[in-house]
């Protein structure tokens, strides 16, 4: 308690007063984006980067503004987000179920360890030829890559979570006569949930990357395919506008996952700054 107080006062003394303002964080964030856009604009306007190949920010953002009111654009976004959601949910359900089963037994944990460590680092993109062979140029190819990549992110977190269960709590639950299901529900699940949510947040970003990659490389329908189409048509401005759009989707996904984390884990110490554990 004392230490925390000391650190806070020290910080407060060192920091300039305006950074204490509640709006300072968001304002600095916006300033950062504006600065980035200015550098982009300046680099292309001065000819440091050839605007023919990398158009100025204002031109790209104007195109993005047009995209935002186009039905074709939203149809592509919908296709990408559909692959993303189906992929992430399937991976989440499979990884959680398997993680709890493997995590509940030392034997299973040991026998699967080396296999998991072997399969996990295989980059999903290396499976593109296999995906095309199995599913062709369709959403299923995207799904295969998305599920493979996000599955391991979540599984590893769930395994860490199940390993983190307090043995005293577990023994207490056992001696109070809690059955297997009750122990999972009241002891393992609350311990694992923060890990699972972290895994989901990591997987959500990975799933978007893989969704776009599959569309770009294979040609599965979605935003990535539109990027590739614009690229092969030599339409540079629409291409970069779509690239910016994918970035914005990434930001939106991250904000969404943060909100989800806050809501699901509102009881957890990590989300309750006022309580020192």
């Amino acid at each position: 308690m004392h230490v925390t107080e000391a650190v806070t006062t020290q910080r407060a003394r060192r920091a300039s007063p305006w950074s204490q303002h509640p709006l300072a964080g968001p304002l600095l964030g916006v300033a950062g984006i504006v600065l980035f856009l200015l550098i982009w604009e300046a680099a292309t306007r001065t000819g440091l980067v050839n605007p023919k190949f990398f158009p100025p920010a204002t031109v790209v953002l104007a195109q993005l503004g047009q995209d935002l009111v186009s039905a074709d654009f939203w149809a592509s976004v919908g296709l990408t987000m559909r692959s993303w959601l189906i992929g992430l949910l399937s991976a989440g359900i499979a990884a959680t179920a398997l993680g709890f089963i493997i995590g509940s037994s030392t034997f299973l944990r040991r026998i699967t360890h080396s296999t998991i460590e072997f399969l996990r680092p295989i980059p999903s993109v290396a499976l593109i030829p296999l995906a095309v062979l199995l599913f062709g140029i369709k959403m299923e190819s995207s799904l295969m890559l998305i599920i493979y990549a996000s599955f391991w992110q979540i599984l590893i977190q769930v395994l860490y979570g199940t390993a983190d269960v307090d043995s005293v709590a577990m023994d207490t639950a056992k001696s109070y006569g809690l059955g297997w299901w009750a122990r999972i529900r009241y002891v393992v699940w609350p311990t694992t949930l923060p890990y699972l949510i972290t895994g989901l947040r990591l997987a959500a970003a990975v799933a978007l990357i893989l969704a776009i990659t599959a569309e770009l490389v294979i040609g599965a329908p979605g935003l990535g395919k539109e990027i590739a189409l614009n690229q092969s048509g030599g339409s540079v401005v629409p291409m970069y506008s779509l690239v910016v759009a994918t970035g914005l989707i990434g930001v939106a996904i991250n904000i969404g996952m943060r909100l989800l984390e806050k809501r699901v884990l509102r009881w957890h110490s990590s989300q309750r700054g006022d309580v020192i554990v």
Partner: protein
């Protein structure tokens, strides 16, 4: 623009079709019965215009085919899709097909795709350099770095042959792999000495001041057929009547495309994102049904020499 949505929808309905394709063939009836659904995997570039145009004109329906076109990101996704039977037909350049056959895949050409342009002074593919480059003739490319979209394929094979014919050292050309869209930027930045590009990038590069050293398709052979539509050997054996119907419709489409350049340019706007101003200017390939046997033999021989084919492909078996 609307057609993008249509393609997406078509892809979706193709899924639904495969899901229920166990029974009798679905879809609308034509005068002599029901249409047979076939899928074709292509790259969304100007070269495949004849197919899109043919479908649009109803030539395939006349032959009893209900064609669904799926666009792939690149040729690499097409061959596996056709081999595995996900697609009935695919589009590829001939060297890729020779390489696939050389590696043991049984692929057969059913129709020609595109041929070197009629006008030897403005073809749809060429090697460009910056205007102040000291490369004046193809032979000067020896010792230079030249970009192609895929190594050991039709680009470097035809360019090496032209360099050799021009009296240069073909083996001394240093090829690097850079995609067509990125090659003009790499050329301007000085990362490469010359770039092999096709339309629409060729027209754009020339407009920006680049100089064409050689049009490598018509320069290799004025009658060179560059790419074609193919199917798997298994498909050709199992459903010969479907393959023949596709072949007939495709050949009609090719002739129609060759006689109606305006229609070709119009259909380009529907499935590519090339801007209308550029579409007006780009060089179109020749679309024709007949494959020139001599040029095909010459290309296959060059492929053995420069693309790493283990032996001369059996053209009688591969070509229609």
């Amino acid at each position: 623009m609307k057609s993008k949505l249509l393609v997406a929808l078509a892809a979706g309905s193709a899924l639904a079709l495969t899901a229920c394709s166990g029974g009798s063939a679905p879809t609308a009836p034509s005068e002599d019965g029901e249409l047979t659904p076939v899928t074709v995997a292509v790259i969304p570039i100007a070269d495949t215009a004849a197919l899109w145009l043919g479908v649009d004109q109803g030539f395939f329906e006349d032959e009893g085919l209900d064609v669904t076109i799926d666009t792939a990101g690149g040729g690499a996704a097409i061959v596996p899709g056709v081999v595995s039977g996900d697609y009935d037909f695919g589009f590829s350049n001939y060297i890729s097909l020779y390489v696939a056959n050389d590696k043991g895949l049984d692929l057969q050409v059913v129709a020609n795709g595109v041929t070197a342009g009629e006008d030897a002074a403005k073809d749809f593919g060429g090697v460009v350099v910056l205007d102040d480059s000291d490369v004046k003739t193809p032979a000067d490319l020896a010792g230079k770095t030249v970009s192609v979209n895929t190594l050991a394929n039709i680009g470097d094979t035809t360019i090496r042959s032209i360099v050799a014919e021009d009296g240069g050292d073909a083996e001394a050309v240093d090829f690097v792999e850079i995609g067509f869209p990125d090659a003009p930027a790499a050329l301007e930045n000085g990362q490469i000495d010359a770039a092999w590009i096709v339309e629409p990038f060729l027209t754009q590069a020339v407009a920006a001041g680049a100089r064409v050293v050689t049009y490598n398709f018509s320069g290799f052979d004025p009658e060179l057929d560059v790419s074609g539509y193919f199917t798997s050997g298994a498909k050709a054996t199992a459903e010969p009547e479907v393959v023949e119907a596709f072949q007939r419709a495709m050949n009609i489409s090719l002739e129609f495309a060759n006689e109606n350049a305006d229609e070709v340019r119009a259909i380009l706007a529907s499935y590519t994102t090339i801007t209308p101003e550029v579409i007006e200017k780009i060089a179109l390939p020749r679309f024709r049904a007949a494959i020139d046997a001599d040029a095909a033999k010459k290309l296959a021989e060059a492929a053995v020499k420069y693309s790493g084919l283990s032996k001369m492909p059996n053209l009688d078996e591969i070509l229609p």
